[in-house]
């Protein structure tokens, strides 16, 4: 589809860019100079020592050589500097900021400030007082603040859809016509929020300069190379503080790049070259284990892959067909238990050893059967009722496998002890349990499993995109949109919902067969509704919603974040579910369509202006 004719684009161009008066009144040149100086100073400050002792991880004591969290500040400061320069129309930098938005600079300055101040506050708290900061630290704090103040003096554009114009004046004190102080503070806060909030840049960037196809593909490859680098850095962060700093910088920085229109251009490129994009993504992902020399982080990576693959499978059910399934992890469990039972482990009650391909087929088939058996009675329900019943079936699975121990039920699963000692896979003489050497590169066991799992992820991605973009996929979306109208169009609602449910179950079963071998053990407690360790049903659903329903990259990103954050932030352990809940509430308030919105969904959640007769959803049947 031509992106320039989409209604979203038309709508955005119709809305004029609202450049507001800057929050801080300064001449434009001064503001720019202030920002650039601040960014330069911030970058320079990372070469000073921030603290006196190496007790704070990452060694921030060395003069002339930035380390640990200082590197993040340096990156942020340099990016801010680059973006300040783009608004000066310096040739060669224009591509960085196609929308010419100052908000990008402001967001990057905020990212730098957040990372730096987070570091400094953590130093002060951990080491017991501000006295532990060296002059370099204070310089960094002031320089980043200066940068942010500089960007706030630049004209920023902001969201206009939630300004109705009258709102700012109607609270004025009667008689004086001057706004009350509280009102002004509220207005200021609103303006700040609008400025920071990522979304459509209202200034539509000019259409990109036409490039030869090979150059575009090269850009895609480079982008995935950079993405691999960023993800590898994030997974490889050695301590929680560094990871938090990384998240702050990466999160706000990405919002900045989105505001600049750079990500939009990249998305347009990837939409144009689908096959090269998928290939580049696959290659970048396959390169990950080669960047690792220990298996510490490859284990995390393979678990992320399993989690995200299952989340993508759930996305068929939730995102495409609109069925809220709260017991999805049971299908992963069925696949894992099946693979464990036929894996030839001594702990298995079945004395059989299937080759891996047969185990995969058996696991997927078992999940399929389980999906149909659960789906056939439950899918006659709609909405909340379906959610509750699937939640129940998920728990029934866990409790049942906990009881099939020969005492309270037939002997099959060893009850709560589960099935341990699942042997490593051997495919075509290639043992997954050994470290293999490719020249100088060592592939450790988890790297082997990572590559195998990646293959499964690719299969699931292909299944998702192909099924979604077909007669069946359209029927699923139609059911999600309006089931009554869909049946009136000749769609057998129950049958198609069952198909979505069964397909989702099969995909989870596939992932489960690999998971059994990666974890070496399957126990019932891995498959709970909600628990601290993903994947569980609640986290799977959260990954889909956080990432973006109905998209491919959304659940992959959501799952990666939801796995990494608990794994990296050990101090959160006790408060993890609390933080998780708070984060979900904030997300639903400010970005209900998820981090990577589906084009359709975004309109669904934010386009309230066109609510006309066409959006009435009263059940027709109720009017005689």
């Amino acid at each position: 589809m031509n992106p320039h004719t989409t209604p979203a684009a038309t709508k955005a161009t119709e809305t004029p860019a609202a450049q507001t008066a800057p929050l801080i009144p300064l001449p434009l040149t001064t503001a720019r100079a202030l920002t650039a100086t601040g960014a330069l100073l911030s970058a320079a400050s990372t070469f000073l020592s921030w603290t006196w002792t190496t007790r704070f991880p990452g060694n921030l004591t060395v003069n002339g050589y930035p380390g640990g969290l200082q590197l993040l500040t340096l990156t942020g400061a340099l990016l801010t500097l680059a973006y300040t320069l783009t608004t000066w129309n310096i040739p060669g930098l224009r591509w960085l900021n196609p929308a010419g938005s100052n908000n990008a600079t402001a967001l990057l300055a905020t990212a730098t400030l957040a990372t730096t101040w987070y570091t400094l506050v953590t130093i002060a708290v951990q080491l017991g007082g501000l006295a532990n900061l060296e002059p370099g630290g204070y310089t960094a704090a002031l320089a980043t603040l200066l940068t942010l103040l500089g960007t706030l003096a630049l004209p920023l554009d902001r969201h206009t859809e939630d300004t109705d114009g009258t709102e700012d004046t109607q609270d004025a004190t009667p008689g004086t016509g001057r706004p009350k102080a509280t009102t002004r503070a509220r207005a200021l806060a609103r303006t700040a929020l609008r400025t920071i909030r990522p979304g459509h840049p209202h200034q539509q960037p000019p259409p990109p300069r036409p490039l030869p196809p090979w150059a575009e593909i090269l850009i895609i490859a480079a982008a995935f190379g950079i993405a691999l680098g960023i993800v590898t850095y994030g997974i490889g962060t050695a301590y929680g503080e560094l990871f938090t700093g990384f998240l702050l910088l990466a999160g706000l920085g990405t919002a900045g790049l989105a505001r600049a229109g750079l990500l939009g251009r990249l998305t347009a490129l990837t939409a144009k070259h689908r096959t090269p994009t998928v290939t580049a993504a696959f290659i970048a992902a396959a390169l990950f284990p080669l960047t690792q020399d220990t298996d510490q982080y490859t284990l995390i990576a393979v678990n992320i892959l399993i989690f995200s693959t299952v989340a993508l499978g759930l996305n068929v059910v939730v995102g495409l067909a609109g069925l809220l399934d709260l017991g999805y992890v049971a299908f992963l469990g069925v696949g894992a238990y099946t693979a464990a039972l036929v894996s030839g482990t001594t702990a298995s009650t079945l004395d059989i050893h299937f080759p891996f391909w047969a185990a995969v087929l058996t696991g997927a088939a078992a999940s399929l059967v389980f999906g149909v058996v659960i789906g056939a009675p439950t899918l006659r329900l709609r909405g909340d009722y379906l959610a509750i019943v699937t939640l129940g079936f998920g728990e029934i699975f866990r409790i049942t496998v906990g009881n099939l121990n020969g005492e309270s039920g037939p002997s099959l699963t060893n009850g709560p002890n589960g099935i341990p000692n699942i042997p490593d896979l051997v495919l075509f003489g290639y043992s997954f349990g050994d470290t293999h050497h490719l020249g100088t590169i060592a592939l450790n066991p988890f790297a082997n499993y990572y590559l195998l799992m990646l293959l499964f992820t690719v299969i699931v991605v292909l299944v998702f995109s192909r099924a979604g973009n077909s007669r069946i996929g359209r029927a699923w979306i139609a059911i999600r949109e309006d089931e009554t109208a869909a049946t009136a169009m000749g769609i057998n609602g129950f049958r198609l919902k069952l198909l979505a449910f069964a397909l989702g179950a099969t995909l989870a079963g596939l992932a489960g067969t690999v998971q059994a071998h990666v974890a070496y053990t399957v126990v019932p407690e891995q498959y709970v509704f909600a628990g601290p360790v993903p994947p569980n049903s609640a986290f799977l659903l959260a990954a889909v919603i956080l990432g973006g329903m109905g998209t491919i990259s959304g659940p992959l990103l959501g799952a990666a974040l939801l796995y990494l954050i608990p794994a990296k932030l050990q101090f959160l352990q006790d408060y993890q579910l609390l933080a998780f809940g708070a984060a979900l509430i904030l997300l639903m308030r400010f970005r209900p369509e998820g981090l990577i919105p589906n084009r359709r969904r975004q309109l669904e959640f934010h386009d309230t202006t066109t609510t006309g007769p066409g959006t009435l959803t009263h059940p027709e049947a109720s009017t005689p």
Partner: protein, 287 residues
Amino acid sequence: MTATDAPAPVLTATGVTMRFGGLTAVHDVDLTVHHNEIVGLIGPNGAGKTTFFNCLTGLYTPTEGTVTYKSSALPPKPHLVTKAGIARTFQNIRLFANMTVLENVQVGRHTRTKEGLFSALLRGPAFRRAEKASEERAMELLAFTGLAPKRDHLARNLPYGEQRKLEIARALASDPGLLLLDEPTAGMNPQETRATEALVHAIRAQGTAVLVIEHDMRFIFTLCDRVAVLVQGEKLTEGTADTVQADERVIAAYLGTPFEGAPGEEEAAEVAAAEARTEETQEGDQR
């Protein structure tokens, strides 16, 4: 070109009764739609028109009575009814709001295409051919309804009149032998109503019979070969536009009957005069 003598009627409803608990919404209604015929169904609000429609399309299973389509009994499931050849639109527009215009029509093609999940996953040549054919047929229908330039717009972003048109295009996508339109001109301005009239005539010219519910009397009387009047769940009368307009019971159903004597002779006379005037205006509209 009324085809009252055609061999098999497209739709025959015999003694259709629909009860919700103690309430009888539709009582013993007979209706026949012949080949190439446009039949109107009118009646005051709450007369049971939409309920009767829902009985025809399988959304409700009638408590009593039978519905046959081209002399075979209709299955009681909406998707099977559509498959058999009856398509419908809704009183409140029910498009798939977040799908594009083209996708909406392609969903309408669902019963006339076969490609299953495996074919979609394997993407063989047969699948590509079928997708292409489905898109081509959908584009034909969009061109027919004049929506072709808007193929990639989201349905929700269309103006009201075009949403109505899209609903008709989507219903036509299942190649129906009978099209049921539930208040197709509700909320339209006179121009749009005229355009809809032309569209319905064009649909009939393609060999599809049409059964239409409408409150716009002018629309009904210019368009329909035959009009059936439903009042309080029962069919009051049926016939050509002129017969129905002349029927006193129909006028009474719409305007009410004067009490004998009770409100006073003068009022009764006034009401009668008003009725006469209405009749005149309606006839005037006719000409």
